[in-house]
């Protein structure tokens, strides 16, 4: 799943020895997740490109300092996420506090949308509109939550890899991941609830309240009788 995290073919020794071909392969192996993370956090293609370039320039300069305490890839992602958040602070100083997370320290946001939309037919989840909505929902997350969610759930990092890549404790990763997922669940519930209503099957009511849902009457039936006089 996360081949970028576990790329066994790259040789750290060759990189340290200045093997340029190996460095080129290294760049290709890790560019994707780094670019996507920066793009999501900064929301700007030019800024994402700057982060991408700065990350590899710094990595190249500091190769000698890599001591193998963490994996090489998480070391690289750490440089990248530092760069991205540094640039974010410069671009949007007002977001600095947001970086720490959005909720009160000891309470999670109570779930508000209680609609069972899992029963929707599979095709409903595969539409372009549905995918675009999922995509857009990520952008509503606070940057600190977004970074954790992207690495863990989209790029497929483990909790530990995510923690190392973002210089966070595993506990912090788990807390942020839960918040991100709960917030996305709220958003998806709003969207798929509408899909359920569109289908007008009443499925939602049966699931949520244990009773048959009322199907909307068709007003045109009543209007039909009124002809021009």
């Amino acid at each position: 799943m996360s081949e970028a995290v576990h790329n066994p073919e790259l040789s750290v020794e060759a990189l340290k020895a200045g093997d340029r071909a190996e460095f080129a392969r290294f760049v290709d192996a890790y560019s994707g997740p780094i670019y996507r993370l920066a793009l999501r956090i900064l929301g700007d293609a030019q800024d994402a490109e700057d982060v991408l370039q700065e990350t590899f320039i710094k990595a190249y300069r500091h190769l000698g300092e890599f001591e193998g305490r963490s994996s090489f890839s998480t070391w690289l992602y750490r440089i990248a996420s530092n760069e991205a958040f540094m640039l974010l602070r410069r671009r949007h100083p007002e977001m600095v506090s947001v970086e720490e997370g959005t909720q009160t320290p000891d309470g999670e946001q109570e779930p508000l949308q209680i609609v069972d939309w899992c029963c929707l037919p599979e095709e409903e989840f595969l539409t372009a509109e549905s995918r675009a909505y999922l995509d857009k929902a990520i952008d509503q997350l606070a940057p600190a939550l977004k970074a954790v969610f992207l690495l863990r759930d989209i790029e497929g990092f483990s909790v530990r890899e995510t923690a190392e890549a973002l210089s966070l404790s595993e506990a912090a990763v788990k807390t942020r991941l839960l918040r991100a997922r709960l917030q996305l669940r709220e958003q998806l519930s709003i969207y798929y609830d509408e899909r359920l209503r569109e289908r007008g099957t009443g499925t939602r009511e049966i699931h949520a309240n244990g009773r048959e849902g009322g199907i909307a009457r068709e007003p045109e039936k009543y209007e039909k009788e009124v002809g021009p006089s």
Partner: protein, 111 residues
Amino acid sequence: MSDHDREPVDHPLAGAAQASGTRVAIHPHDHQSCRHLLKSLSDYVDGTLDESLCVEIEKHMGECERCQIVIDTLRKTVELYRDMAPAPPVPEDVRARLFVRLDLDDFLVGK
């Protein structure tokens, strides 16, 4: 012990339970446990939660339709995102400029 079923429990569940004809008054639970379990839901859907807590959650789900729905939709949410391919790939022109910046332009062809 038999005092339990004396008073109706004021809980959002009560309506659903009545409608489906089930009595839940034997082990009345308040919102407290829903809130308490919320913290473990991420680990639960990832399958990394302690056995004992899993049992607690599953027991609660049997009694609380609200939490059942939250957990099902949370799991589905994670699944939908997991299935989403990480996109977009690095655009060709971005990659080209990166290689130039890193003095690697002679390796630009082979990808």
